[in-house]
Symmetry: D2
Subunit: 444 residues, 4 copies
């Protein structure tokens, strides 16, 4: 129904990752191009505004991902490289205290200068610089540079997802409700397939000792995904599909947002303070009429069969308790996902919103990857033996290991080739602008 | 030194105001064009961002002034006029509760759509509509329409000044310190004239009964400028020039910002909370080096001889007490200004920042108009017998008559033909982003 | 119906004020005793808590009024006087920056120590010290000391009123709704007199030039009441009685709190932010039942004939506009009050809440003094020629001349002998915990 | 050096817990008496004030623990029991949504009524009611009542610790720095024992599969301590003593509070926002002089050999990273503590502040219980299979399982007989007013 993103260009998969400098360079160039392609449907005006402190302007994402390569790859490793503008080091450093002063996060939306065109010029020159470096570096330098480029590619893919989250948030604040890309005018896109969601079935897991975490032999992983280690699980059950909008409407009909017995104390306090009555980006055109949601393809009626999205951890947790179930731990999720292919409604498919599971599909869990990130019951913390890298790279993940909760899987705006079974996404439990939903678990 | 603004077009003066529909229409067209000319040096990105809730994006100013004419002139008076987009009535209504719902003020900077180009198209069609209406309306309709157009012209001129205040505030937040228009690279522009400010001299006024307020026979005035009425003044003295940067640097050198004995209680509380140490938009490139200020022509060293600008009422009041003087009341100011020509460093001169008084000029007050608005000691309230107009127009001024202080004169960004001896500008006493300074007064 | 306050002790009137040191000393002793008598119905627990930053604990009022005499009278003038505890100078200085460091206002309620008993001991020793000083000082010293003692007496009377305002605010936060003094169990105390309020009649005033402000020959006045000076008034009319609860209920029935056309912009913003639906301290025991109000004598049904009380300036101003009238200026009020006796339902009468006017009383304004303070349309500022006293005493009034509005008259908790025709009370326009109501005015 | 608390009354130990109704009743009576004994050194004024929203007034603790028994034990189980005052059910319900409306937490300090004397009367009658119930109930009722009484006893003991935390916080805000109980005038109490802290030694633990969590057969435990379950640990090392003040002073000397590389991102943001430079309740009488700390025995110089106390999780975590170590997980702590006696500087010893370890003591960990709670690296969440009790009791612990971190051990103000190896205390990572410190761990 939708054209694939990126002009049909399928990004290289992880399989051949870094086999040779040439392949890595090609992947680097493709990912850099993808980011620009994601910004292309937007006017310059759309790219400069920050709709809340958690979000960043598109232009800032374009600049920050460029800063990452200039600061961490070109400046140390490409002889003769001089910064295009020294102040960019201040403007586009996100949170790396070890690398110097930083423009305040909440003020990123005030940077009407440098104009977009200059940021894109800078992007182009840095992209070319990295390609030059990879083409010219000797083997010793390459051994140091290639892991940084690989990290930068994955970093840039994270910002591709953030860019789309942030654009949706921005457009959802606008009474004009602009579409990032054209949709199909208010008809739920999957109506042709089915009217009713796939029923919930459960898969039992026996528990016991398992290995989780990133295995370096399997290719790239962020530092927070390791070390690989043993976990001990009790027997548990996991739902075969994510919670749907139909499920969520039932929770709402049962007054779920107001019944304290389902909620964590911090959760209901936040729900009351912010007057939550439905997931973020839901709205009703008529006071008591049906619910709609704002999507990257503009306003759409709620599709009952699609996974619910844009709920906080607090809401997910309350829904689980309402359902007599619970959220899975991240270890339970990872063990259950083992052996399943990393495929689904991810960004390359170009849908840009969650889609219903195929009701005819049978046997075991569906939609583990794509559609919606799945909140887990696990606080985001270090794995046993975790040690952040030395230097600025060590600030990448470790210093955020407080107050956040792990999400697993990937969403409809997660770039292809970016997620893995052991991938650990994380947000604060009150945050709702990510493409996050949930899957139920229970004790066996 | 600077080219006049507006491509040399001198706007029609007040003298021939509204003599005929044709002259009013020409003035209308010129003012509409001026607004667009003021926006022209800005990129679309510059025009969409709101740097604080008190400010509005340039695009919003362009839209709001258009809304004013569409809503109050075209819709009621031009047969067959339909709104270009009904939602603009919501997006661009500022504060007229009687005219319906309004987009929240603090969220004006989230409106990346409609894009600038569409707002400019809308502007053009509304401008043309008003011109068509004035060309085609019969005498009865004209008698109703012409006062509204006249009001709309003055309203638009207010927003021209706000637009420039807001652009300066935005650019002052940007570490790149962009210039709205090119200056002369860090040389104080008046260095050629003199090194030392004009000395302060005082003019004595005998007090007694005087008339102040707008005389309808003298042309246009806002409702808050009337009724014309008698006031009783004690004898007083008024300084012949505004307070200069050199004066202000002395206040700072004497630790004026920290000495509570000079300050109103609310004033020093605000100064401490916001860590004021100098006027807004002042900065020091080197920790203990000389002060600079950010201007519409980019960063400039402080010119000792120029009037101080971007100070709050609280600062102005504290400075006056430090000087053993006080601020004048608005009646004192108006009586002293009677008989002086309305001329000075206003927007048409194109300087865009305050300039020193000519030290060779002698005899009586200088710089009453232009350079800087002058804070008075008068709380902004209704004159005796004041009654706001019926309907939405009645919301223009009256409902703001609380907690604000009157300023008189006009500034270097006040449009030509906009100010009068009885003109009452007003801001909250803590606000600093207006081009506001002060002139001292004393009891005789 | 109620016993007079103070065990029947009638305080000396102003007439013989300061005729001799002995009379001043007697008045001083009486006022000191009155403050303690006002605190006597309260438990120590009641006297330590601060219910909002605008309020102070009773114990703090007891201490601060003692600090005033120790710091400004005893330390400079009584040889050999040593502070009872040096830290009290920090704890009980309110806002006199010139006198040293101060405990933060909002933290006054954390001072569980010194215990009440020690503060009362300190009070007693300071009271005795002042009496000793007045008995022993020579004529030169007396000439300096007596004005300070006189100021201290009036200062202490101000705190008597604040003490009762603050106690009511504290008790109104308590679901037990305790009474400061026993009332008569829910029966409106004036039901016996009349069922209907006195009708509104108006007195016309011709305008012209008048004298207002304090005349030093007439006895004590605060510095902000002078200098006496001429004002020029337009003809005006003043209502003969304050606005009643019956009037206010009509405003509420007409949806007055929600109709923006009656309100100042800042006013309705505050009303919405704080969800005002009725005057402060009003409540409904049953969701749609009749309104009650919390008073110093406990909860009482609303008496329609009594003046409305505990409204902000914003509410008073909106009510006036709803009524097609306006608030008087302070000069209009003072000119109209000239020649009327300073008498009414003040604190000595012991009622402690506003009472209906006697409907049989005829001819001219009633209730000018007592019952409720009357909001005026005048911003609180300096009179022409006002100059605060030198030294710390200069901080008493002058530095608050911003953002506040003048009230005139006096209330049911204003001490006897404390108010005058020229007395200027002042509060911020949003504040509601004072015993403030309003009287309407109009252009003639 | 200090007298034991409670007039020498040693509370019954856990060993005979609930062996018979008579023994439980005796323990109940003793704990009720202890709470009153803890309040006894305070004036009524001290008992009514709330120094921050996290704290509660002593009087509220006295009332809430009484409410717990009246509401959950007497009303359902003692025939004929009527509430002493129905509004107490609103005033003294803390957070049990299922039990009805609740006075706002942040407004507990406004309840000057009911006066302390009435709360104590209520306490006495409820205590007697419970004793009567236990003496008169039949076996079936006793089987239901005894677990509630046991829970109420442990609940009351938690509030005993909170009461002392809150009193210290209150007194620490007071410039008078009052002592809750007399100390020994500024001499560090352990100076006689040693000048230098016990050196750090480490105990190695082999990891593997262990059981943690509460075993119901072992007596009382809160629901959050179970179910008992297996955990899988990697080999680790645990320091034999908590971090001392000497250690902490070194961290401060190394600029530890400002060096971002040691801190979680949320942690340093909080440290900057609140300007942390030392543990809570530390102060310097002279600007650059030695540090002191405010304690329940008044101000004391920092004792280098005593465990550091009143640090947040963020500070503890930063210190651990500064030390090249980490915090233990709660499972690591519990496994290491297995087999060690529950004894130490707990409340019954009457010291009321942490004390140095005996440097002569050798072999294995010291101070596991008492002195300071020890922050762990574990987010507070449910154990596998955890299910809260049905009804209101289910709100006791479960709904707080978000955003908080587990602490283990017990402190110098933890009641005797209250802690266990599996006891899980929890606070938000920024909170500092608990008697919390830390013990280092490391990977083996």
């Amino acid at each position: 129904m939708y054209a694939p993103m990126y002009d049909g260009t399928v990004p290289p998969t992880d399989d051949d990752l870094a086999a040779t400098p040439g392949r890595l360079a090609a992947r680097f160039a493709a990912v850099r191009h993808q980011t620009e392609a994601l910004a292309a449907p937007l006017d310059p005006e759309d790219q400069v505004v920050q709709s809340m402190p958690d979000c960043s302007p598109t232009k800032w994402h374009l600049g920050h991902t460029t800063w990452f390569f200039e600061r961490l790859v070109l400046l140390p490793w490409l002889p003769g490289w001089a910064p295009v503008d020294p102040i960019y080091d201040h403007l586009f450093n996100s949170y790396y205290v070890g690398l110097g002063s930083r423009h305040p996060r909440a003020a990123r939306g005030l940077l009407t200068r440098p104009p977009l065109a200059r940021v894109l010029d800078w992007r182009a020159s840095v992209t070319q610089g990295v390609l030059d470096l990879m083409a010219s570096a000797g083997p010793d330098a390459l051994a140091r540079v290639m892991p940084l480029v690989e990290l930068g590619i994955h970093h840039e893919q994270q910002h591709q997802e953030l860019l789309l989250m942030d654009v949706l948030h921005l457009f959802a604040q606008n009474p004009l409700q602009p579409a990032y890309l054209p949709g199909d005018s208010g008809t739920a896109p999957v109506a042709a397939i089915t009217d009713t969601p796939r029923p919930v079935t459960w898969t039992d897991h026996p528990g016991g000792i398992h290995q989780i975490g990133h295995d370096p032999a399997a290719g790239f992983g962020f530092d927070n995904e390791g070390p690989r280690h043993q976990v001990l699980l009790q027997p548990y059950r996991l739902a075969d599909r994510p919670v749907t909008n139909a499920d969520w409407l039932e929770f709402m009909a049962e007054d779920g947002y107001a019944r304290a017995e389902f909620w964590l104390s911090d959760g209901i306090a936040r729900a009351e303070a912010e007057a939550w009555q439905a997931p973020l980006h839901w709205f009703r055109p008529e006071p008591d009429g049906p619910w709609w949601q704002m999507t990257l393809r503009g306003p759409m009626p709620i599709d009952p069969a699609a996974p619910v999205v844009h709920v906080s951890h607090y809401e997910a947790d309350a829904f689980a308790r309402f359902s007599g179930a619970r959220l899975p731990t991240e270890a339970e999720w990872e063990v259950a996902a083992a052996g399943h292919k990393v495929e689904g409604n991810l960004l390359p498919r170009g849908v840009l919103h969650p889609q219903p599971a195929d009701p005819r599909q049978s046997g075991g869990p569906v939609q583990l990857y794509g559609d919606v990130w799945e909140w887990t019951a696990s606080a985001y913390g270090p794995y046993p033996g975790f040690r952040p890298a030395a230097g600025a790279i060590g600030e990448y993940n470790g210093k955020f290991m407080a107050n956040q909760m792990v999400l697993r899987g990937g969403s409809c705006v997660t770039p292809g080739g970016h997620v893995r079974p052991g991938y650990r996404n994380f947000f604060y439990p009150h945050q709702r602008w990510a493409f996050a939903g949930l899957r139920l678990a229970a004790d066996a």
